[in-house]
Symmetry: D2
């Protein structure tokens, strides 16, 4: 896919923000203006940890999950309870932010840094997820591909599909917007084949100037015949440097948009400020 556009170099050779640079003062103010009642809706899945420890103090078998926790022994008669938490940052059961350093194309990460320079045994030096630690705020839009329903398995989502959903909602997608796309799938629990975004859909994001993507439609699994495999990660994250919110939950958001007949909102994202990782657990909010 050598003719696909890319943003490598667009904001300099050392940039770490990627498409978030598209959030201009104007875009940001547009996002702020969407907060009216202040009512918040979470775009994150609930992740249920399992014990880090197994039997005899906990069940001997259990599904593994994104997060494991262990309650600490805090001493006899201690007034407080606490725990230690172990997390697989890119696990499909936890809503997380894919930083730009997560993805490697041809041995390099956006905007052309050798992966041996961006990542080492002890962490990430370029493109870590916490470069957005000061928060991302912009207007969010929801494109619901199948209101009240679920995409057919192995559906190839195209730019046209996104245009049609925007027309249905009566909204115009603008540069700097955070894009949420609902297909009705919970990728953490669904059985394949999963629907997926095509290169044409990622091209559409580029044309519109999307800054962040948070959709329950990700890359098809298995890859779709005749389509570029892994388009969202390889082209969207890798080439266009659009940070991805992986494994969001959009049912509450869709229900709220439907109820209010309002498909735009203040999108606000604030990952924990933990430095040097390729991914971080997040809870993006839609504010109405």
């Amino acid at each position: 896919m050598t003719d696909f556009p890319d943003n490598w170099g667009r904001w300099g050779d050392t940039d770490q923000l990627g498409a978030v640079n598209l959030i201009t003062d104007e875009a940001r103010a547009r996002g702020a203006a969407e907060a009216r009642t202040g009512w918040t809706v979470s775009l994150a899945r609930v992740t249920t940890p399992f014990p880090l420890t197994g039997g005899p103090m906990a069940q001997a078998t259990a599904p593994t999950t994104a997060v494991q926790t262990i309650m600490q022994f805090t001493g006899f008669g201690a007034p407080a309870m606490g725990e230690v938490m172990v997390m697989t940052t890119h696990h499909p059961e936890v809503t997380h932010l894919d930083g730009l350093g997560h993805w490697v194309e041809g041995g390099r990460v956006y905007p052309g840094v050798d992966v041996a320079d961006s990542s080492g045994p002890t962490g990430v030096r370029h493109g870590a997820a916490d470069v957005y630690g000061n928060g991302i705020l912009t207007r969010g839009v929801l494109l619901d591909l199948v209101p009240g329903g679920r995409l057919a398995p192995a559906t190839a989502v195209t730019g046209n599909d996104l245009d049609e959903a925007a027309a249905r909602a009566g909204i115009e997608v603008l540069p700097g917007d955070a894009l949420t796309v609902r297909g009705g799938w919970d990728r953490a629990t669904a059985e394949p084949p999963l629907p997926g975004m095509t290169a044409s859909a990622v091209q559409w994001m580029h044309d519109k100037g999307i800054s962040v993507y948070a959709g329950d439609v990700g890359d098809a699994m298995p890859p779709l015949p005749g389509e570029f495999p892994g388009a969202l990660h390889r082209l969207g994250l890798g080439k266009l440097a659009i940070p991805l919110i992986d494994a969001p939950a959009l049912e509450d958001l869709a229900a709220t948009c439907e109820r209010l007949d309002r498909w735009t909102f203040q999108f606000v994202l604030a990952a924990p400020r933990i430095a040097g990782t390729t991914g971080l657990p997040v809870n993006p909010l839609a504010v109405f």
Copy 2:
């Protein structure tokens, strides 16, 4: 301190939200209205992980910290980098939310649940931090006790001090507000004796109807002579059920408020939606 007010029972016997119940529709809308430019300021410290692994692949000795990470071996020629993260949820180096189930008074947690019912070896059943998983949005106010400076060691902060700071800023604190208080201390790195909130300051929070507290002034360490020890945790978190943001970083916020001469903002908090823990890492934002 048997005459100190408490909120146990105020919102029922099974409530898990505590003082966050004070965020009425009116308070929430007041918070939303504060978002104008959409500019965001983080209230979180940057936490630098250390390797979960020691030598020979990483340094053999290092300070421990709140978070440890390990880069995964993702296979030869793998296109993506990832990691596993281990976190001590209540470590002073990571900005975190103290859930109501964190604190135990007389063997019970708010609003009177036996700790053996609220916590078990495998996690928290009542008062977990993720009860706020749908997000908290309200108006935030900053009371800067020492603009540009730092409180003297072992200062006892009282309700009067808070009144004076509010007067200096020209603001009226209202029910449902999130309160941020700056004393100029980074508790994670500072040497004792640390300043601390007194029972009178916590009483003030109760009188004003504070919903969430995020201050760099916490409980004095060591306890202040003649003052109720651990007032913020024992009275504020335990009795009043005001969730605490522990270990915030407020210097950027204070600089922004000073520059804009504006001491109120949209406060928005969204912890990762990880169930069943007493604490969670957070990155509260102030939106201007």
Copy 3:
């Protein structure tokens, strides 16, 4: 069971070795003399770790287990592979040594130390498993309760049963011997009800002067009607201070003894020298 004998004080008020004190020079030399061909048989289960990380780099669901491992990213072109290992020390799937500090009776551990003095949030100060770090070597004996078979579920194993097995094997159990008992159960995978050792069997161990116990018959689960519940842990480990090898695998040992018609051997045990824990993974050997 107030009339059950105990060893508290028998070797002083600060002793940490318990019944291992019964291995005299004579007993030790008796053990050494058993090594003839030098052929070794392991008494440990094979524990298969599962990934510490979940998907997408590993399976998204898996049974939990005693040990989790994660392959480290050791850098590009690194010449060596390595990993980090997480272990639940008392998990039934890993053969492990129960140190004397593991068991608490009436708030105290052998030989009468307050548990708040023996254990703290950061580890064990009295009765840690590594007090045997210099190795345990003595004569081992195998009592096979059901050669070639398996005890009926919920069997109550008594001192008489042990006497009969010894008579069948034609051996005399002597003071300082390490006792292995085979009932044909793999407690990690078996469905309850499990057979178990009774107080009479533990009394027998006391009478014979057993120094270490490694049997696939542990405490019955659920407890046996009319029998003292948890006799092996509460009386054997707690009162008599006989360190227990929990979750051994004795099928290979039994087959070897049968083949050689030889029911004694050199028993040798060397746990990793990791300080301050209540349990450690071990691989006891029988040397023929």
Copy 4:
């Protein structure tokens, strides 16, 4: 070093034992015969864990180490204490076994398996440390290079040095022997430059038929001028497939040998039977 001998293929194309194949029945019986009093001496360092958790329940800063542990909360009034343990298997502070799958030469591990076949993100499939899970028993010999002293920094240890030490002790090293070599260095705590084994010393091991190596002299750090760098790991472990005991402690052994004027003993090694790792913590014993 293309002319250095190697054992790739010597015991077949799928062998996982390497030089341990040199322990014949004769060698094994020779080892068994060394056990006389049954007195055991550990060849392992004591590793002191640090808390997996940091403050506020444990110290906020501490040296990292090979092992971290966390005491579990086992419930209110629970009768037992337990913990979870996290271990870096190849950390210089923990005595460990380097399995043959640990070392990669030219993208392959002994005896020629592509590293992508031997190791994956979820563990080791060829050359794991637990292939020796049934125990290793053979005669051990101690060659003390500097009785009562310490090698000079950056000493290059040669085959001649080993011959001289054997002559001093009056022993003949035989095929299948486990070799322990003392130089008086604790590599975990010593400051570089460290002494090291040269290619000539590794050649000597090959000529003598050494089955296992456990020495406090490892590879020099930094590499010695004019010598093949990393000879012990690259030639001994990688080419000759001699499993290495990394980071042993030999002071007690040397003192015992000196006291008894006896430089041979029963060497017995039994790593925990945890499958699929490149390294395992061990506690080799010398039995006298």
